[in-house]
Symmetry: C2
DNA sequence: GCTTGTCGTTGACGAGGATCAAAAACTTTG
DNA sequence: CAAAGTTTTTGATCCTCGTCAACGACAAGC
């Protein structure tokens, strides 16, 4: 029962695309005459769009389109041209960098409200793979860039977002450089909980759409170490491992391990 | 002789402040009626200022002032209010985060042309300490922020800088998470070489104004490991350790170790 | 010139996490 | 539902790097 309930919650969190989408590489959803349906956008309050005046909002609507990707789809690859920037409206993505010898570093997980292509780089600096079915709101990079120059408010929103990302990246540098395996797992779980809290409200249930390998590649650990640490935390009643995620039992203990 | 030449080059690179500055916590240098002397600024072509029209440039001049700090001075501390943002014009800084238990992560080293306070956060997210005598061009954070809203070109420059910093931070995540001690040292040295190249042109001489401890805290290593690795690289004729820095002998080897 | 403090180096030793191997649990496919 | 592939878990062993300790080099101050 528990397991089924968790599963249902997970589905609510990420949404499920109609099965047809799974067979398509990507399905354009634009209605004729109206590129986006921003009014129905579930994450309006979280995204860059929130910072715009109605008039500016319409301009953005005009140059955007919504797209859906099935789980495991690659949205773009490190080193390739970046004709688009995107705003994630649902689902979860893995952002990773590959070393020449095959070692991989996951530089982040993107959730609804996150923006891909902040840097406005002409080529992608990392690969983005869908961990679940994903919906994004996509804009031509150059069109978006032009709009930025016309709408300082939007530029400001982008700067704030970039600054926030930079802060997160620096925090992650602390985690990678100066923390033990146990502390890494704890700060990862607390971090994910906090991010979901912004989207769906606070909860001790933390969905983990990524594999243990992904978590390891994010934290600079091996799969085995991630698995062992999580098993140990479960044995010590700090967490419970549930299908597709974890339930946090001893949040104070986790926060203490993760504290900055 | 060699050692003296190296020392002289080092002094050229970082400049030497008049000894009087060393005794002052900070010495304001503003000439009356002209807040800055931007025309004589050595790093004009490297800084945000470069992106401005003459008219905008003057506005910036009006709200800024130049300051000098002696080596070892703390420009600001993690957690404190951030009334100013600064552009570094000479010297080198260590940017670090402290964990509650005393462990430290150096999140970066700032060199001429770098901007402190990109995030426009009201409080500082890390501590900045002068590694050498330092000169900065300082602006009130709120004044600068207002100017951004009026001058999209400046905002654009800030966004580009933030994006660039973010990319560097992500590269550093790869280094911290997925590289061996030897590879970490190699990418650090190549990274420093590339940064100095932007400032003073390409050279195999790389000044290292920071201690081994600082390097360790930047790379997620201990002092001892940094020292051992550098000694080993010197023994293997990949580098030469000189006073205040290193000389790169086998750049291809280092680049191979550091390759992304 | 001697002391004191900081920094860099070197050695001996040990531990945390990686590696290797294999089985168990779960998913996807035919 | 069986088969094949993926993901997770667990165990045994190894090794890189951290820890502890000591010493040498150098600079600043008395």
């Amino acid at each position: 029962m528990e397991s089924l309930a968790e599963k249902a919650l997970f589905d609510t969190v990420f949404g499920r695309l109609e099965t047809s989408a799974k067979t398509m590489a990507c399905s354009q959803k634009a209605a004729p005459g109206l590129a986006l349906e921003c009014n129905e956008c579930e994450i309006k309050g979280l995204s860059v769009c929130d910072s715009l005046e109605p008039e500016e909002f319409e301009l953005l609507e005009q140059i955007g389109r919504t797209l859906a990707f099935p789980a495991k789809a690659t949205l773009f690859e490190q080193g390739r041209d970046a004709p688009f920037v995107s705003n994630i409206t649902s689902g979860a993505l893995r952002l990773s960098k590959l070393l020449p010898d095959g070692r991989r570093q996951v530089v982040g997980f993107a959730l609804p409200g996150d923006f891909l292509g902040l840097a406005l780089d002409p080529t992608h600096m990392f690969t983005a793979d869908a961990l679940t079915p994903v919906k994004v709101c996509q804009f031509s990079r150059l069109g978006f860039s032009d709009l930025l120059d016309k709408k300082p408010r939007l530029m400001r929103a982008m700067l704030n977002m970039a600054a926030h990302e930079l802060t997160l990246a620096q925090d992650q540098m602390v985690v990678l450089g100066r923390r033990t395996a146990e502390e890494k797992i704890a700060s990862f779980l607390i971090g994910m909980r906090n991010r979901y809290a912004r989207i769906h409200g606070a909860s001790v249930h933390v969905p983990l759409p990524m594999t243990r390998l992904d978590i390891g590649d994010y934290l600079g650990l091996t799969v085995e170490t991630v698995s062992r640490m999580m098993t140990r935390m479960a044995r010590e009643k700090v967490i419970v491992i549930v299908p597709d995620g974890v339930r946090l039992l001893d949040v104070p203990r986790l926060e203490q391990l993760a504290e900055m």
